[in-house]
């Protein structure tokens, strides 16, 4: 069973800034679950001019109770992120997916960031003035293959044995729904995270942003920017 989710969003910043924010988005106050990010590879394709970056993010968190009931408590999980920056055509394509428990639930999120389309005269004027827009379309693919996990030799082999007697279709569907719901709840937080980073980049430049991220100053960003102390969980 596979489920898809699609959504579109726009940031009120120019494309180069948004891509920079994308690479600098962790840590931010809305993504406390992301513990670390490491670059696995970075490769410039001299023919196309495209930049290929692969990163690994480590997240700490729990599954929702409805799924955790079936599975051991998951303390850490890894996310693999692949990005391709096409600076000539101003297009950033990203793909992130979970590495652990793929047999239970695989979530693959693909995004495309492009400059926002400018359709009205006033928009043209603001674009010329340096105020920009970037559109991002997101497609998320959820798949649970618990039934097939019985033969899977990965870490979820145990889960496969537990579930081989269940109605695999309904269990898979439920897990996919839980994953979807959780992800949709997380979307708002991720956008807020990007917005905060964009705002900080505008105010301090990347040197300031990196410095604050390394020294823990990023925890204050949310309050300083919005004047509120509301905690929001993130994916």
């Amino acid at each position: 069973m596979v489920k898809f989710y699609e959504n579109s969003f726009s940031y009120d910043y120019q494309w180069p800034a948004v891509t920079l924010a994308y690479f600098l988005r962790y840590p931010n106050p809305y993504s406390k679950h992301v513990v670390s990010s490491d670059t696995l590879s970075s490769h410039l394709d001299t023919q196309t001019g495209n930049l290929h970056v692969t990163r690994l993010h480590l997240k700490r968190g729990k599954l929702p109770a409805s799924v955790a009931r079936f599975l051991p408590k998951i303390k850490e999980s890894y996310i693999l992120e692949k990005s391709i920056v096409d600076v000539k055509h101003q297009r950033l394509e990203t793909e992130t997916r979970n590495l652990d428990w793929e047999g239970v639930l695989s979530v693959v999120e693909s995004q495309v960031y492009t400059p926002g389309s400018v359709s009205t005269v006033s928009e043209l004027e603001t674009a010329a003035a340096g105020v920009g827009r970037t559109d991002v379309t997101t497609v998320v693919r959820f798949e649970s293959r618990l039934g097939g996990a019985a033969r899977n030799t990965q870490s979820d082999g145990m889960a496969g044995r537990w579930f081989s007697n269940w109605t695999t279709g309904s269990v898979q569907g439920s897990i996919e729904l839980v994953g979807m719901r959780r992800m949709m709840e997380g979307f708002g937080g991720r956008r807020e995270g990007m917005k905060v980073v964009l705002e900080q980049l505008r105010e301090r430049g990347f040197v300031g942003v990196i410095k604050e991220q390394r020294q823990g100053g990023w925890e204050r960003w949310k309050k300083a920017w919005r004047g509120e102390g509301v905690e929001r969980t993130d994916d």
Binding site: P16, S42, L44, L51, L99, E143, R145
Partner: protein
């Protein structure tokens, strides 16, 4: 564990990315040396955690792969 090397590389990358690459001037990888140092430290840490192989396998799959490997 590899924080210093990582920080040096990350700073180099972001600086290169925003000052050169985004302006169409990035044609060489200026951070290659720093990356080599960081990467060897990182690989050692990942191997220690036992996830290095999992990552390498996952990286081989293309963006549109339907996780066929999970069916074997």
């Amino acid at each position: 564990e590899c924080s210093e090397k990582k920080e040096r590389y990350d700073t180099c990358f972001i600086k290169w990315y925003s000052e050169k690459y985004l302006r169409g001037e990035g044609s060489t990888d200026e951070c290659a040396e720093l990356f080599k140092e960081y990467k060897s430290c990182l690989n050692a840490a990942l191997k220690q955690k036992g996830i290095h192989n999992m990552i390498e396998e996952a990286r081989k799959t293309s963006p549109n792969n339907n996780n066929v490997k999970g069916l074997k």
